[in-house]
Symmetry: C2
Subunit: 460 residues, 2 copies
């Protein structure tokens, strides 16, 4: 019986046989099917015909056909030879654009100077950890995270932030975002329906809490931090006591006591977001609020601002009764935060390299803070600068009557300067002060002065 | 006016002044308050009295009192000097026990031989990556993950697994558990109420899907994989086509086509869990089901079995229309999977070290598979062994009438042998076959034969 040569005559099979003829033929057949050059339902050449055409053995072609049949791409129809399985051609997938490139000047808050990442120390610790860690370190362990890091943090946080931290009550999370999301889920499961959050405050964090199904009650903020008002409508509150985000205010002591008393009296939970607590320039860092009420405060810290955000290393020190439900939620979320990074951080803390790096960073960012304040005072004296006593960002407020956030954003765009406007941080933006959150830690070392120049140019 | 010396006379302040007198005094005061030795509301010595007592300058003591006042631990009451703030003593936190130690013999499935982790290659790649990555690599980028890894995976998965992978449709996740949870959330948001899951199947994955609010429809499984039955009650299905977990069956080709046709006809989503697809011993690996219907299959892979579970490196290749909602869910979950590990894996793939490691692993586990089969045949011929053609585990079925799972678990416990019974993998365990999922990849190299000895002893 004459074979149907038509498809094999027209079929271009560009077989790359570098890795073997059979594997190459399989790849070529798959590619041809994928591209539609072998149409669904269409006949393939007989094994003998194709073998002759390609100069291969018949066994090679038969094996290739068998493999594609096992994968479901081909079917053998009795009396009809081998055909391509019937399947609709795949829709062309719209390619989503990759993230846009980095701007020339970047003063958005949220990260340290990434060129200052302690590469040598990280590498040294990585080598040490890989050489000495037990094989079990590569396995998923306790969802609370590596005991080595929890122990190191208990000591470090007690010493550096006044946190009452028992390693058994620490959970390592993949960034603070995850910690907040899991706390919100645990609260919701326990019956909480609304959480009080500072206004202005981090919009991303409101989105996380909203996705977990909790309502948000706005907490007013002034020059001395959040005001303990309207708390009766909430079962929990998220605070940034060391350096309010974004205003930069430090929470006044009597308000700390009032929030702690509310939590104790009502059984509510305070989440303390201590995102940049190690950075205080004019005096010693203010200790954590958690130290006053460890049974009612979940203390959150992170390596995002001391090391790098992309490490996804953060921790939550929990009241005893919340450890088990939180660990359960963590287990079902991603089981465990990456172990190697945890062990490296534990090693950096234990060898004091972490402390040294934080101290050096504090000096570096204090100088940047000083330059920002001087520069704005000299070249944009009409703006008001707040929150410079600590942290890695300052709030620059625009005077009423001058150019507003939109106009300044336009000017900034034309200079390829990335800025974060205050606008989105209000729960309700109508009729609010306008300004920018200036992340003076963000630019790489050599890029800082040019960024300040660009900022002054758009503010003037 | 005479100071109140009483508290200072009784007060034992063990001041460790190694780091400076003021800091040491602050630490000692905090510790005394925390331990209750300075009672709430109790008076502190005047600054002059305490300074005289300790031999410090008055300024040092005043500064320490000021710091603790700023932190809210102390209050200055006009006319009464400085007192400890009123606060209830913290409840003693019950210490949760850390995870129990490793068993002497471990044949539970879920991980490769951790002593075979490619430490040298990982370290080399880490050094290379840290030396050459742009500073932006330390920042949180596109929630889909590093473009370097997505591009490397697109090539690798196309080549090794027949996956149709466009880098724009790949999202890197912190483990497969996270990928499954996020897909479940996206499906639920889009109106899906139930998902079909293989029975027997991974109980942890059922828990993840349940927590996301989806119901589970059981998919029957036999010697040729899942059967496409009862699908009309589900809007999605999770399959393990290359090596069914836990039975080890490979999904038959016509069933692959049936599942793909169902997904195309109804718009349902198939989640393909390709957790050990690189490990096939008796012939070439079977290509991914995703290759047949890339618009209807979300293909999930992981480095957990090729490298280590604690790396939390996994990936999902999504149909085009799901990329944006999934990336949004990922962003709100933990923003981004740890970058450094992503870049290291991309480097390992690019330099072919990953392929070499997988090939070496395949050889190593094939030998273990052979030894398992021979050993059981010789020393426990009454059990049936399934699923040995691929993967890192086999299913050992117990004959009816003999000792059941409970009895064997007791025997195993007395020998410190950890086993995974089949029991919990049934959605409904009543009246089901009994057996154990033997993870022959788990023991460290020198521990494998002793583990097999222990297994034979308990099965006999």
């Amino acid at each position: 019986m004459p074979e149907d040569w038509s498809s094999s005559v027209d079929l271009h099979l560009a077989v790359d046989a570098a890795g073997g003829r059979r594997a190459g033929l399989e790849r070529a057949l798959r590619a041809a099917i994928a591209a539609g050059r072998l149409a669904p339902g269409g006949a393939l050449p007989s094994t003998r015909a194709l073998a002759a055409e390609l100069g291969y053995s018949r066994g090679t072609v038969t094996a290739a056909y068998d493999q594609l049949t096992a994968e479901g791409h081909l079917v053998t129809v009795p009396g009809s030879g081998t055909r391509v399985a019937t399947a609709a051609a795949p829709a062309s997938a719209p390619a989503l654009p990759d993230a846009p490139g980095e701007p020339a000047h970047d003063l958005r808050p949220g990260r340290p100077d990434l060129s200052a990442f302690p590469t040598a120390a990280w590498l040294r610790s990585t080598r040490r950890v890989l050489a000495s860690a037990p094989p079990g370190a590569h396995a998923l362990g306790d969802p609370r995270g590596r005991p080595e890091l929890r122990a190191a943090l208990a000591g470090y946080l007690g010493r550096a932030r006044g946190v009452r931290a028992d390693p058994a009550r620490i959970v390592i999370t993949s960034g603070y975002a995850q910690a907040l999301g899991l706390v919100a889920a645990v609260l919701r499961d326990a019956g909480t329906s609304a959480i009080a959050m500072e206004e202005p405050g981090h919009f991303f964090h409101r989105a996380i809490v909203g996705r977990a199904g909790l309502g948000v009650v706005p907490l007013p903020v002034d020059g001395e931090g959040a005001r303990p008002e309207g708390l009766d409508r909430a079962g929990a509150a998220v605070l940034t006591p060391a350096h309010q985000y974004p205003s930069g205010a430090t929470l006044r002591p009597d308000r700390r006591r009032a929030f702690a008393a509310w939590a104790r009296d009502t059984g509510a939970l305070i989440v303390e977001d201590d995102y940049d607590g190690e950075f205080r320039y004019d005096r010693q860092p203010v200790g954590a609020l958690q130290g006053m009420a460890p049974d009612h405060v979940a203390y959150g810290g992170t390596a995002s601002k001391t090391l790098a955000p992309a490490l996804r290393l953060a921790w939550l020190v929990l009241p005893a009764h919340l450890v088990e439900p939180f660990a359960e939620a963590k287990l079902l979320a991603d089981a465990h935060t990456q172990s190697l990074a945890q062990l490296v951080l534990a090693d950096l803390i234990g060898g004091h390299a972490y402390d040294r790096h934080v101290r050096a960073s504090r000096l570096r960012y204090r100088r940047r803070r000083d330059l920002l304040v001087e520069t704005l005072r000299a070249r944009a004296p009409h703006v008001r600068v707040q929150g410079v006593a600590a942290g890695l960002h300052a709030l620059v407020l625009l005077p009423p009557g001058g150019p507003d956030e939109d106009e300044i954003m336009d000017r900034a765009a034309s200079r390829d300067l990335a800025l974060m406007p205050l606008r989105a941080h209000w729960h309700d933006p109508a009729d609010r002060p306008q300004g920018f959150i200036i992340g003076y830690s963000t630019p790489l070392a050599s890029a800082y002065k040019p960024a300040l120049d660009a900022l002054c140019a758009v503010l003037a």
